[in-house]
């Protein structure tokens, strides 16, 4: 499947790791960068890096943690490198169309777009919280920041999203 050699003698099955974690790695990059091709490139780099470091992987849970951490860092690095991505504030973003949030098929895209416009740290915190379902303490460890900062990013980002959506009658307050 991958074209990579697997006989590293570490007991870690590279192909199996790719199959198990490719959606996680790709989605972290996709939701952060909002660019499918770029997210696939980041995922390629992450798995290439895993292949080079396969000997250091000690267990399945270690592999998951390692991949998540490297994916987060590579996505942030790529976001910084890609200067063409204009980061605008939530207040500058075009207002989403009004409608019923329960039946609005565009709400998901609106939310992804709004999350994509957050500054890099709160954006990644939101992705790790709601895509990966991680606790603030896990996010803090992954992103090398205090738990209080993670909680602050979550609260402020949610408040901003809520305010922005409520202004146009999208959802409850």
């Amino acid at each position: 499947m991958t074209g990579f050699a697997d006989a590293t003698g570490t007991g870690c099955d590279f192909d199996a790791l790719v199959r198990e974690h490719q959606a996680m790695v790709f989605s972290v990059a996709l939701h952060f960068l909002r660019d499918r091709a770029l997210a696939e490139e980041v995922a390629q780099e992450v798995f290439l890096s895993l292949h080079r470091n396969l000997g250091a992987i000690q267990s399945a849970s270690h592999a998951r943690h390692w991949l998540r951490k490297v994916a987060v860092q590579r996505a942030i690095d790529e976001g910084r490198r890609r200067k063409r991505q204009a980061v605008v504030s939530l207040s500058e973003l075009a207002e989403p169309a009004a409608g019923d949030p329960q039946g609005d098929p565009m709400l998901g895209e609106t939310l992804r777009r709004l999350v994509g416009t957050l500054p890099e740290a709160p954006r990644m915190v939101m992705i790790l919280r709601y895509q990966e379902d991680l606790d603030p303490s896990d996010i803090a460890e992954l992103m090398n920041m205090p738990v209080s900062t993670v909680k602050s990013h979550l609260q402020r980002s949610l408040a901003l999203l809520r305010q922005k959506l409520a202004r146009r009658g999208l959802g409850e307050i």
């Binding site: 490719q22 939310l111 999203l161």
Partner: protein
């Protein structure tokens, strides 16, 4: 967890990459190489153009020297003819 957090969980759910995403050539490696090749071509062209310009300037200078020598030779001939006329 309120409705917004539930919607965020749904909006940010994991997605699968393309099935062959690991097998495709990586643009990040290909593009810089193309950029370097284009830059090298420009440098080589500039070097070539610089050489041609120096050759042209040398040719012009040589023509000017030859013209100066011809002018000086003509004047010398006229002076010699005048000197011969005076002597006779």
């Amino acid at each position: 967890m309120d409705w917004l957090e539930q919607e965020l969980r749904e909006a940010l759910r994991r997605q699968e990459p393309s099935p062959d995403f690991l097998e495709r050539p990586r643009r990040a490696h290909v593009l810089p190489m193309r950029r370097w090749m284009a830059a090298a071509a420009v440098v080589l062209a500039a070097i070539g153009a610089g050489g041609a310009m120096r050759e042209y300037q040398g040719h012009v200078a040589k023509e000017r020297v030859l013209l100066a020598v011809r002018i000086a030779g003509g004047k010398m001939n006229r002076i010699q003819a005048q000197v011969r006329g005076v002597a006779q």
